[in-house]
Amino acid sequence: MEKKSRREFLRETGALALGLGCGAPLVATSCTSSIRGDAGAERKWAMVIDVEKAKDPAVRKACREACERVNNVPSIPDPNEEIRWIWDEKYHDVFEDQIHDYTPAELLDTPVLVLCNHCTNPPCVRVCPTQATWKRETDGIIMMDMHRCIGCRYCMAACPYAARSFNWRDPRPFVPTDADGNFPSEFPTRTRGVVEKCNFCSHRLRDGLIPACVEAANELPGGEGALVFGDLMDPDSEVSRILREQRTISRRVSLGTGPKVFYIV
């Protein structure tokens, strides 16, 4: 074997260390990237919205009202300050990357129910500086911890679906109360300075119930099947069956966020 000079040995050792140092982050990234996505989840909650069945204003109203009742969502009239968990948008705003010059005008103006998409790769979670919002690994729900939210609104800037609302003021005066002054639900109201959004009714799921909007739509005559909720990990669930058998779309898939709210158009 060729004998190396001390100088050569030192130079090569240095180059090797440099190479390892630069390479390590790449290796680390490729290893950790597998924990994003849904590996290891026990459940994966998802929703399918049938746009045609939800065309009936009564269905959408029932969904919205049930949500507001169960989650103590305030009704703030000022559109700049309103709090939205589930609401209507026009088709051309919801699926702006799906429309073309010949999309029928009637479809463009069709109201579509929108809510938090509970993304597989949620941009809001990536940017939250306090981990006040996070993806629950057991079921994929994007949760909010109001105790930790500092109201920086970074998540609102990151969300491509505008699914998050900021409490510019104390929401309590805008939550309708009954004759005794009680709020519609025991669910905590929010406070000034925190961001909130749909949480797939995680408190109801804990008690074995389905989200309030889905329940309300299905209880309404004519609204059966407008909203379907279920577990994507279960191949026999209603959502899995619909996704397998019907043509569904979701919002802005090209962004790679992996929405878990799907639409039958």
């Binding site: 905590p188 109201t189 406070t191």
Partner: protein
């Protein structure tokens, strides 16, 4: 040295003022320690005691609530086992206020006495949705 008297008076006044906090409450009727607040305890039929004993709860309820909060909100743990082995649902509204129905007479009265201002009630409700 004609100022000796003035200096002495000044010094005495200084000492009196500086030590006032230590003896003031002995001479002033208003300075007596405030009486412990009268708390409204739950109906004994709700159970003989709280989730832990009273001295522990008095000094540690805030830490326990923080732990319940982290357990339930962050980790989804729905059961908390007390030192006596009983299982409780970790909820301020459902579990604590389920027995301590009089929030003003219990929580608030003691918090006012201790001059602490917890922010729990800005969001959390009483059972049934009361503010």
């Amino acid at each position: 040295m004609s100022d000796r008297g003035k200096i002495l008076i000044g010094l005495i006044l200084f000492v009196i003022l500086v030590t006032y906090p230590f003896w003031g409450r002995l001479v002033s009727p208003e300075g007596a320690a405030a009486a412990r607040p009268e708390l409204v305890y739950p109906d004994p039929s709700k159970g003989p005691f709280c989730v832990e004993d009273t001295p522990y709860m008095t000094s540690n309820h805030m830490d326990l609530l923080n732990r319940w909060r982290d357990d339930l909100v962050r980790d989804g743990i729905t059961e908390w086992v007390s030192s006596s082995g009983k299982t409780y649902f970790p909820s301020l509204t459902k579990t604590c206020l389920g027995c301590h129905e009089d929030r003003d007479g219990f929580c608030n009265r003691c918090h006012d006495y201790a001059n602490v201002k917890p922010t729990c009630w800005e969001c959390h409700t009483t059972p049934g949705g009361g503010s």
